[in-house]
């Protein structure tokens, strides 16, 4: 009965331990089941799957900084309303709403705040009613600024003229013409004072004309309307009409009054002046405000009472919370924006899913929601804090509440998501291991049962596992820790190569998977990255390989010969020499690297020494020193060392010279290690081999080539390869001695790579200085491939390891 096995296996892989239950192995079933419960438990425990609908709705709103005002509405607000109502300042519409919609019956003295149903007036209800009243008042229209009559957009006469009330004009006094800067070119076009002209002339120069700057600020006097203007730095008022130009000056007879609530576009229609009104419209840097409903006055008075008059008794309304209310009302007024906000910031996977489901979502999508900035709620400033001018003190909150400023809600941050996701996935893999085990076990036991074999009893089975896999069980805690402290960071760095992370701010914003795009780009010189980077990459890679090979061999054989010399029988004071020669190794590499940088400086010790020893004279004679690179010719150009001094590490015209210097310096830094190592090996070589060779009449050279070298190489070959990998990534020598230079390290067209940069130091600069994380990761992947494969291949071929 094969299908039974299959069913058990499937069941066991879905519901761990179920197959075992069917196999009647109860302890084993319990074991798997407990792991399963732990797995699901973590998932559910970290989730918000089962919260109520109201909480779900609030997830996104809770991300706006600030708190709800809580009982402010039914206590403070209603108390204030009652107070106002007693003073004859009633709002019948609002009372209707309270009584009919919310079913709040006022007490016998007409107090709503003392009603037993007052608690029904919640923030939600307040926002609903408040927004509705604002919305009803603030419709789009053309408002006649003289008569306050209005025209709806549908009835608006399209032939009316838009007046440009904020502009810079140049007035030609002689010809009585106005000019303004043309938008399309550098010229100036003829214009009317408020409107554009058809069939206009263009001129090139306006230097002698009078500068007329209209400011867009509207004034009124004698029932006429004017716009403020600066003419030759004096304030003048130009009447808003297109048929004649009437410029006034403030005087006893003419006292204009500022109309600072008129901020929208101004139209002229049938010789009447209209302001176009649309709440939230930004025009000439100002925002058109929603219109204050009556109820807004109670709100402001309530906050004023709370914050100023009752401050000792109760908690004042905090600015952040009040601004949050503004945003909520703003969202209520703009259902589309509200919906998209609620959708984006209430992401099922991000906000509610448990650790493992969220983890998978995080890694797959890398986040979806961009940050949001709220500015437009400031169109409610008049409503929430009162008019800028002419607002009574008790209803003006301008100096009490910090209402201004952008409100930011952070979106998803891909770096954090990726990190969290990887942790969750790695952890889940440990659990899934048990799931697979459970399925495999169910399958095997079931098969055994079908074939009438007796499967091991649970207890015996675990004993068997304990005995046979003891080493794995003991190692498992280490594996667990290793997975998080070693594997997770490596994977994180690795996968960045396949994302679009890079550039300012990329660390705390969204980025996306881009597949192999980065890899393709660096090999394609036609892309933005490729232009500089593809060429730089090959140059840097080439030098990295040459550097790794050269530095390894020089150091290796340098150490080898030094060891030979020190070990030679004719050398006296062996121990002394050995101690002295080992010293460079004993000094921290960083220090000696810095010291080298200083002594090879242009004005450094080496140069002074060379000068006093007469080398300078010699070099100057050859022309490779003492003249500028431009004036050098022929061979002197190829071997040019410097102008006044030898530029050991800064010679940008002859980078190969710098590279050679670097290799030589590196010998000093690296050979003692090999010398010490090989001295040890040489002393361990069986003396009888040499004696036998002596008897056979071998020369010293033959002994070296046929005995010493093979034996030493045999033992040190793996280390040679390790050193190769080490030098491939020898960050310190490059970074601390030349810093990657010579060459321009700030030039993007050279991929920010200097002449002596190796991949690792280049990577460092790309991440730390230029934030090009994805490219740096691409290079690290490539380094890994090169170093990893060379090392692996070599080690597998090396005798010392294969015989292990």
């Amino acid at each position: 009965m094969k299908y039974k096995t299959i069913i058990k296996t499937i069941l066991s892989s879905i519901f761990w331990g179920f197959g075992q239950l069917l196999n009647r192995q109860y302890i084993k079933a319990l074991f798997f089941f407990l792991v399963f419960v732990a797995f699901i438990g973590i998932e559910l425990g970290t989730s918000h799957y089962f919260i109520n609908d109201e909480a779900v709705d609030n997830i996104s709103l809770n991300k706006i900084p600030g708190k709800n005002l809580g009982t402010f509405y039914n206590i403070v607000f209603l108390e204030t309303y009652d107070q106002e109502a007693r003073n004859g300042n009633k709002d019948l519409d609002f009372e209707n709403y309270l009584i009919n919609e919310l079913k709040i019956t006022p007490t016998s003295n007409g107090l709503f705040s003392k009603s037993s149903d007052a608690h029904l007036f919640t923030e939600e209800k307040f926002i609903e009613y408040f927004s509705k009243t604002i919305d009803e008042l603030s419709y789009i229209r053309y408002q006649n600024i003289q008569t306050n009559n209005y025209v709806l957009p549908d009835d608006w006469d399209d032939s009316s003229l838009l007046l440009l009330t904020k502009d810079t004009l140049y007035y030609d006094e002689i010809n009585n013409l106005y000019y303004r800067k043309s938008l399309n070119n550098e010229q100036y076009e003829e214009t009317n004072i408020f409107t554009l002209k058809e069939n206009k002339n263009y001129i090139d120069d306006v230097t002698d004309f009078l500068l007329v700057e209209t400011t867009g600020v509207i004034y009124t006097a004698n029932n006429k309307y004017y716009v403020e203007a600066k003419i030759d730095d004096a304030t003048r008022y130009i009447e808003l009409r297109t048929d004649t130009i009437n410029i006034e000056q403030s005087s006893n007879a003419f006292r204009p009054i500022k109309k600072d609530r008129i901020i929208g576009p101004i139209y002229e229609s049938n010789n009447e002046i209209y302001e176009y009104y649309e709440p939230g419209l930004r025009y000439n840097t100002k925002r058109q405000q929603y219109i204050q409903p009556k109820i807004s006055e109670y709100l402001r008075k309530a906050v004023y009472t709370q914050n100023v008059e009752l401050v000792a008794r109760q908690n004042p309304v905090r600015s952040t919370d009040y601004v949050k209310l503004m945003i909520k009302v703003y969202l209520e007024l703009n259902p589309n924006i509200k919906e998209s906000y609620l959708n984006n910031f209430n992401n099922f996977y991000y906000d509610r899913a448990g650790m493992f489901v969220k983890g998978v979502w995080e890694v797959v999508t890398l986040g979806q929601t961009e940050e949001v900035k709220f500015n437009e709620h400031l169109a409610l400033t008049d409503v929430f804090v009162g008019y800028e001018t002419a607002e009574p003190t008790k209803s003006s909150l301008r100096s009490i509440i910090n209402y201004e400023g952008e409100v930011n809600v952070r979106g998803h941050v891909s770096t954090l998501l990726l990190l969290e996701g990887l942790i969750a996935i790695i952890l889940s893999l440990f659990f899934i291991f048990f799931g697979v085990w459970s399925a495999v076990d169910a399958y095997r036991v079931s098969n055994q049962l079908i074939n009438n074999e007796t499967p091991l009893k649970s207890k015996e089975y675990f004993k068997d596992v304990w005995e046979n896999s003891f080493e794995y069980i003991v190692l498992s805690p280490a594996m667990f820790v290793l997975a998080f402290i070693t594997i997770m960071p490596i994977v994180f760095g690795f996968v960045l190569a396949f994302t679009s992370i890079g550039g300012n701010g990329s660390m705390d914003k969204l980025f996306d998977w881009v597949g192999f795009k980065n890899f393709i780009e660096i090999f394609d010189p036609n892309t933005a990255i490729g232009q500089g980077f593809s060429i730089a990459f090959w140059r840097v890679l080439g030098w990295t390989i040459i550097w790794a090979v050269l530095s390894t061999f020089t150091v290796f054989f340098g150490g080898f010969f030094q060891a030979l010399i020190v070990n030679a029988e004719s050398v006296v004071f062996k121990k002394l020499w050995r101690t002295i020669l080992i010293l460079p190794w004993a000094i921290p590499a960083l220090l000696s690297q810095m010291v080298f940088r200083v002594i090879f400086n242009e004005g450094g010790m080496i140069n002074e020494l060379m000068n006093s020893l007469g080398f300078y004279k010699l070099f100057k004679g050859w022309g490779i020193l003492g003249q500028s690179f431009q004036s050098a010719t022929g061979w002197a150009k190829t071997f040019w060392l410097g102008h006044d001094n030898i530029q050991w590490f800064t010679n940008s015209h002859n980078p190969n010279f710098v590279r050679i210097t670097l290799v030589v310096v590196n010998i000093w830094l690296g050979f003692p290690y090999f010398m010490a190592l090989m001295t040890g090996i040489m002393t361990a070589i069986d003396k009888s081999l040499y004696e036998a060779a002596d008897i056979d009449g071998a020369t010293g050279f033959q002994k070296l080539v046929n005995i010493t070298m093979p034996l030493v190489l045999y033992s040190t070959a793996p280390i040679l390869i390790m050193t190769f990998s080490g030098n491939f990534n020898n960050f310190g020598v490059i970074y601390f001695i030349t810093g990657g230079g010579p060459g321009d390290l700030t030039a993007v067209e050279r991929g920010y790579a200097g002449q002596t940069d190796i991949l690792i130091s280049w990577m460092y600069r790309l991440t730390v200085d230029w934030q090009i994380y994805n490219m740096a990761s691409v290079f690290s992947v490539l380094i890994f491939i090169v170093v990893g494969s060379v090392t692996a291949w070599n080690l597998s071929k090396t005798n010392a390891f294969t015989e292990d």
Binding site: N284, R318, T320, E406, T415, S500, M507, G532, D744
Partner: protein, 447 residues
Amino acid sequence: MRKTFLTIITLLTVVLLVACGAPNNGEKIDFADLFPEKETIRVWIDDQEGEYMKAVIKAFNETEAGKGIVVEHQHMGTVDARERLKTFGLTGNGADIFQFPHDHLAAAILDDLVYALPETVRTKVAERAHPLGLDIATILYDEGTGEFGPGSNATPKLYAVPMSLEAVGLYYNKDLVEGDPVETYEELIAQAKVWNAAPVSETDTRTNAEAKRYFLATSSHWADSYFMQHIYSAFGFKPFGPNLDDASKVGFADAKEALEWMVDELKPITTGNNLHDGVAGGDNFANGLVPYIIGGPWNIEQYRDEGLNFGIAPLPSINGEKATPFAGAQMAAIYKYSQNKDAATKFLEFLMSDKAMELQLEYKYKLPALKNDLLANIEGFSDDPFMQAISLQLQDAIPMPTIPEVQYYWGPGESMIKSIWNEGTLPATAVVTAEDAYEAQKALGGK
């Protein structure tokens, strides 16, 4: 024995647990209703010893606005602060207020770290701050489109509060300069030629030039655009156009004349045949070996410690044109995602007060970023010749460009001077390369 012990322990634990749970019958006491919350803000300001900030915080808590606010100071280097905030901020461990030098403002904005201060704060700051400081911290921003730079709906936004101002000046060693310091580069160059050719001393026959003791030094290197701006200004070059805010191009082409002058006149007297950074000029001046250096207020402490008898003079003019340097500033800003913006704003405003500025001058020896007429109220300012000199130099300074794209100016600018200085590239070629490099960087940064 062991069993009894365990039993006792268990019993004790149970009793303890029960005791803990007992008294409250599920009644919740909300202390928030009884005591107004004390807000805590964290500030990252460069102050190693912490004494300066301790004094500032103490003074702040004595003011009306700062009474209920707990300020927690953590020392953070001004350059580090921005870098750290990028990661610390994400996890909620960042600062509410952080400090950075002028040239980091653009990057900080691009990195999404800075909160644009409300208009009322801007008005308040504008009343007290030195106009240059205000300019350096203000950017035109259009809230609707999210774009920086001029536009019909762009309004000036203040992103940070300037704390101290600085500008480079001509620092001279009074022991080596006879009479008044030079006023023009022409004078300076003529004197430099004599000095550079003179022997180091009676015993040392090398010339000053050979000993790398060039007459005029710089405390940075000669390819640093911030230091070289005074030369650019004299030749009429400003990055990003006359208003310093046209991001479409830097306009390197206008720098050609200045570059030619640098190669022909400046290079021979300052580094000779050496690289742009081939002369250790800063050390030379600090050791009293050379008479002049282009330095900044940040050097004063070192020169004083060295016991140097020095003075500060205005930068010399070139061909009769004034050499106006960039004004720089240390500024403090609010973290964009700070949860305590209210309290942070109060502290930021306090940093502009006379008291805080006085403490800054006393502990950090920095020129307060206040309007000139307000400086008189600052104790310790009027009788300080260096502060007066820096203040004087600032009158001729131009504000740094603030558009975020300035971030992409420094690299190409430096490469440009390096190439003409070190590699003999023709200025005409170098300016074209630099403009291309700016474009390329901008494209790379904006992706």
